[in-house]
Symmetry: C2
Subunit: 366 residues, 2 copies
């Protein structure tokens, strides 16, 4: 392994390729457009890995991220965040250069765009199928139709379809629950599509996207586009949801041990909330877990070590409980490998990743 001095985030390129490949196969088999969400890796370099697979359309979560990936050569981008009208100047600049897709959910914003936009943009109506974070409630057909009409009447907006993020799939703990969320979401989206068709709107596409459903479900017959993001790395949250297995997680933190506590079988690492974020999972005993511990043997990341986990974190400190055997094996100055809880927030905090060969990969495209 490369020389590690302070906390770094390692990425296994082969596993990333396997994760991308698997998702692309699924998209091809179902004849749906693959528009991966790049907020997870925020890296122009990893973007290039997607290009090797022929990917040409992407999703991002902010105008700034869209600008960054546009500069990296991407020319078909969806900003999957309700339009912030205060950013109109930047939106206009982007729309001049690339094929821009925006998310709308109110008449006021559509009217604003109609008045202020200088180039054609495609718009998706944002639908809430049960997550209740953003979007129009799926059964408000009248409102959805009014919005569709406003967009169709516009000279500068092109109605592309309806889009949802079924983020309530993150509450799932089994594959069956994930599939139930998916079936429910899709049937709601199909209902809207049928309703709009009856009202004279044709070619309304359906775009869905959360990593759990897209990872588990095999059949996407009525869907036109999928937008998963987290799958590129996966993490412990996704394992808990049942979206993936632990060995599909493509990243690990490497953190030096700075102290050992014999009386409690704990070690202190250089590594805390400014590296991992404060996201945690609850284990079966309702304990907060900020990461599991693993080893590298013969260049391969092993399964998590039993009874060993990050028990608490503060700004830079991480406290790790180890099983007696591993505790006795490690020393101050050794580097521990940690499986992250939340890949997106960890990558956002770190701003770069390292290949196991030591090569640095920028991840600040935001």
């Amino acid at each position: 392994m490369m020389k590690i001095i302070t906390p770094i985030l390692l990425v296994n390129k082969n596993q990333v390729y396997r994760n991308i490949s698997k998702m692309i196969e699924k998209a091809k088999k179902n004849h749906v457009r693959f528009r991966p969400h790049f907020k997870t890796h925020q890296s122009a370099v990893i973007g290039e890995w997607f290009k090797e697979f022929g990917v040409s359309s992407i999703t991002v979560s902010s105008v700034k991220m869209a600008e960054c990936f546009a500069n990296a050569g991407w020319d078909d981008i969806t900003i999957a965040f309700p339009v912030n009208i205060l950013e109109i100047e930047k939106i206009n600049n982007l729309a001049k250069k690339i094929d821009l897709n925006l998310l709308v959910e109110s008449e006021n914003v559509i009217r604003f765009l109609e008045n202020e936009l200088e180039s054609e943009v495609k718009v998706w109506i944002n639908i809430d199928v049960g997550y209740h974070r953003d979007g129009i409630k799926w059964d408000k057909w009248d409102k959805i139709t009014r919005l569709a009409r406003l967009i169709e009447d516009s000279k500068i907006l092109v109605l592309k379809g309806i889009l949802t993020h079924a983020g309530h799939s993150y509450k799932s703990r089994t594959k069956v629950e994930i599939v139930q969320v998916h079936i429910d979401s899709i049937s709601k989206m199909e209902t809207i599509q049928m309703y709009l068709t009856e009202k004279g709107f044709f070619n309304i596409e359906i775009s869905v996207g959360d990593t759990p459903t897209v990872s588990i479900v095999d059949e996407f017959s009525s869907v036109d586009e999928i937008r998963p993001g987290n799958f590129v790395f996966y993490d412990l949250k996704q394992v808990q949801i049942s979206s993936c297995s632990e060995n599909e997680i493509a990243i690990r933190f490497a953190c030096p041990i700075v102290a050992k506590y014999e009386d409690r079988n704990e070690v202190l690492i250089d590594g805390g909330a400014i590296h991992f974020s404060k996201d945690y999972i609850l284990d079966d005993n309702q304990r907060k877990i900020y990461g599991y511990i693993t080893k590298e043997i013969d260049g391969k990341w092993e399964s998590k070590i039993e009874d060993s986990y990050v028990t608490s974190i503060s700004q830079e400190h991480g406290t790790i409980k180890l099983n007696v055997e591993y505790f006795n094996e490690v020393n101050i100055g050794d580097v521990l490998l940690i499986i992250p809880v939340h890949a997106c927030l960890a990558t956002n905090l770190m701003g770069k990743l390292y290949l196991t060969t030591g090569q640095e990969i920028e991840a600040k495209c935001r």
Copy 2:
């Protein structure tokens, strides 16, 4: 107010000056050295504000942060994090240039430093008075004495004293609880000091530092140094602990509203975990609160608005419940003011702050 387009972190310079001034008065009255922790603001500019008050010694939490503030002209720095021996090269470079104070808690690390250090450094023995994160348990007098002996015998290490972070004060909810933590911590530190004096170690200083105790306690007769950090900004966690009042909090997030949901009196803001961090407080009803909402009237930040708070956050999205009156008052495109839960993590994520006049302040000294 300045023109705000995307989430920013505002700082009230006058309130920061008041917070610094109050703490300095307390230090002066007690004849203790004031060595503020700069991890909260991570800003060379705000460092200059401290210099105006005559502050000359500081605390940081990493070698990198020490390098940054050394470059900004600070020449007396304590790295309040157990020495990471893998960073010896950088430590040596720093020790050549500045008055460096390090934290040790094991014989192996002391021996390592004795062998590898090239310039004299001062060391503090790190004591655990009850937080159980780092340090030697306060009642392991034999171990503490052995370490003191090793340091005294060293040609390159200078024994400065004993240091603790009574982080368990963060569990307090009343001033009385904070004072209890303080009295208990100090009596433990005094016991060690007496024990070491009996063993022939003189001039052993006592350094304490958590913001809650230092904010509330007035009398620090047996203490030589205080190292609070968070007090410069304060936040909702500190209000909950009882360290400060809400009007002493010197920072606010400003985030645009991008959607309104009439059926649930909620708005969606551009602002989420990549801005605020995932830290929360639990209110009296055990609800997770990721921030309270406030208004600016006549250039003054008002008290938090009743029944209004950030209910949930994802990577970039923030969902905010507003009381009916304020909900009806605001529109898409308006900017909401949010009182942060955790100043240190928020500042670390944002990397800059803005004065209310619009002036940008770098906060990336790490």
